[in-house]
Amino acid sequence: MRAVEHLPGNGWAVDERLLLVEDDASIREIASIGLKAVGFRVATAIDGREGLARVRACGFDAVILDVMLPSLDGFEVCREIRKFSRVPIVMLTARTDIIDVVVGLESGADDYVKKPFELPELIARLRAVLRRAAAPAEAEPIVAGGLEIDPAAFTVRKDGVELALTATEFRLLFELARRPGQVFTRELLLQRVWDYEYLGESHLVDVAIGRLRAKVEDDPSHPALIKTIRGVGYRLDRA
């Protein structure tokens, strides 16, 4: 296990405000203690409605969202949040069904942690999504495939219209667009975008590509921009 202090990465500030939506009191309390111990400021909510209300009421830097919640489940909360915010969301999935993971990601989560988790895992995932939400170091705008990508402003325009991408979708597009024509394996994208060291869940990549296509492609079922290279990975066409 990696020690918290030696996590790779940069660009995260202390005092980031997290919302932890979790119905189990023990997990909520222990996770709060652990997250506070490494410098986050943590607010908690005990069910989906309260969580959603709190995100609406005041912005957070990231949301940790349990899937199995009373009143409104995590997928619903996630979909609702995505209607008005691109705040990074990490799902806590108690079930390890791939379906659950995929549904969670499709409803707009940036990453997920399987229960039971050790706190360093959760913290590492949180830091990774926060880093993604921060502006990339190279701030030069990129034009590729009819898209104008401005890392500094964190915006993507297609034909002059701004697209609402989450931090993960933006970072994924940015990685692909920096080297158009190059094939990226899922493993490489997992490293670059999600900070997984090796063989992370490739669902992360596949689902995020799907969501990204839905936003940037003219016809998402026949992608012209982001191509799948069978058995290898993905490529952004120069076009």
């Binding site: 079930r95 390890t96 791939i98 229960k115 039971p116 050790e118 899922r186 058995g231």
Partner: protein, 472 residues
């Protein structure tokens, strides 16, 4: 038969389909042959008897007249007398007292049978059937009234013999016809009769093949109808039993999955708490430190166990998705070894190996196999990759204590541990999970072991796509 029905397939090589049908046809033909033959022979004998009797009666009447006629004949007239008979085709021999003979046809001078002669000498009218010159004759003889002369009349019976021969031929032909007809009818009847048997054996085969809803058409008001009803009853019972068993098994699997799942929430709090504590161990007062370390280790073990229970119950549920990529097995092995810090205990060699398969499952299998070797074998673990052109194989060998032969068949069983004291740290599910994953990928794992020297686990996976696996 009964044995074959009870254990289909076991002696399949000796079942001759149609044997029973042939036997039925043969029996049918035999019965027809014997009864028709008996009937034919009996009627032939009756006809023959009647004809011969009729011929005798007619001839006797004639003979009596001829004897009366002969009474008026003297020796010198005898020549003309006997010649008159020749025109009717009847031969005549007239023997006068003193032994002088007059015969009607020089060719016909047969020896008179002595029995007949003595009969005649006593004054009786006698008859005998005999062949003369190869032809059948009825010989009637008597003493001429009022003299010692004897008259022998040879009545030809060729006509009767011809008729009887005709009758024999006709009856034989009819008998053969009956046989043929019996064979044909027997065949049809046997097929009809045995059709339910054929249907039943087909149904039994279907059931053995897993089609438990197979039923026979019942309703015929005969033995086969009753049999079909009994068969269907048995099939109902079997289907219900198997459904109950599968339901019980499904319940058991669901129970395991539910237990594992229900354990997750409290376990999640435990794991999160333990991970918090583990950062603080060094700050704890001495008496608390060791218990806390043990607690943390036990929580991790519990987590592994629950994770693996979840994993194996997902594999049991059979709904696991399989991805397919080009997978460089050597780099997976290298990555998992370095991730777990086993570099100084494990060496990798062999040819490079690329498979089209699910990388995470391959990683899982190999991590479990190498982990098992690290845990049990200890020293000199070697991972060797290779291929035979169709399959890729990975050997994980260790120079450990080996596995005693009595344990070898059980190492892939769930919670099976060779050392009953259960001292080892593994959950007891690692190898079972590895095997289930290998099978999911269309491969297998085998194990061989040489006690005191080494154990080798061999993973074999197809090089190319394993059946119908979706590409993601």
């Amino acid at each position: 038969m009964a044995r074959q029905l009870l254990r289909p397939g076991r002696r399949r090589g000796r079942i001759r389909p149609g044997g029973l049908r042939r036997r039925l046809v043969v029996a049918f033909v035999l019965v027809a042959a014997v009864s028709a033959g008996a009937l034919a022979v009996a009627s032939y004998l009756l006809v023959r008897q009647a004809r011969l009797q009729g011929s005798l009666t007619t001839s006797a009447v004639e003979a009596r007249e001829d004897l009366n006629l002969a009474a008026t004949i003297t020796y010198p007239e005898a020549g003309g007398f006997v010649r008159a008979y020749e025109q009717r085709g009847t031969h005549v021999v007239l023997i006068f007292s003193g032994g002088r003979r007059v015969w009607s046809d020089a060719r016909v001078n047969p020896p008179i049978p002595p029995v007949l002669r003595s009969f005649v000498r006593q004054g009786q009218l006698g008859y005998q059937r005999m062949d003369v010159g190869g032809l059948p004759y009825l010989v009637l003889a008597g003493r001429v009234p009022g003299s010692a002369a004897q008259l022998y009349l040879f009545f030809p019976e060729q006509g009767i013999e011809r008729n009887l021969a005709q009758l024999r031929n006709t009856l034989t032909a009819a008998w053969l016809g009956v046989l043929l007809l019996a064979a044909l009818v027997g065949r049809v009847l046997a097929r009809r009769t045995l059709e339910p048997v054929a249907r039943a054996s087909e149904a039994a085969r279907l059931m053995a093949g897993g089609r438990l809803d197979t039923r026979l058409p019942a309703g015929a008001a005969d033995e086969f109808g009753a049999w079909a009803a009994a068969f269907n009853e048995m099939a109902d019972a079997l289907e219900a039993k198997i459904a109950a068993l599968s339901a019980a098994q499904a319940r058991e699997l669901r129970f395991t999955a539910n237990v594992a799942h229900e354990l997750r929430t409290p376990l999640a709090a435990l794991v999160a708490g333990a991970s918090l504590l583990s950062d603080q161990v060094s700050h704890l007062p001495d008496p608390a430190r060791r218990p806390v370390e043990l607690l943390i280790a036990d929580v991790r073990r519990l987590r592994t166990l629950v994770d693996e229970l979840m994993e194996i119950s997902r594999l049991d549920a059979g709904s696991e998705p399989v991805q397919q990529r080009l997978v460089d097995v050597r780099s997976i092995v290298a990555a998992l070894i370095s991730a777990r810090g086993w570099e100084d205990r494990v060496t990798v060699d062999g040819e490079p190996l690329t498979l089209a398969t699910d990388p995470r499952r391959v990683e899982r299998i190999l991590a479990n196999l190498v982990g098992n070797a690290v845990e049990h074998g200890g020293r000199d673990i070697r991972v060797r990759t290779g291929t035979d052109g169709v399959h890729g194989c990975v050997d994980v060998a260790d120079a450990g204590p080996g596995i005693p032969p009595e344990h070898l068949p059980h190492v892939f069983e769930r919670f099976y541990k060779a050392d009953s004291a259960r001292t080892s740290a593994g959950s007891g599910l690692g190898l079972a999970i590895a095997l289930e994953n290998a099978r999911l990928l269309g491969g297998n794992i085998s194990v061989s072991s040489d006690v005191q020297r080494e154990s080798v686990f061999r993973l074999v996976l197809p090089l190319g796509p394993a059946g119908d696996v979706s590409q993601r």
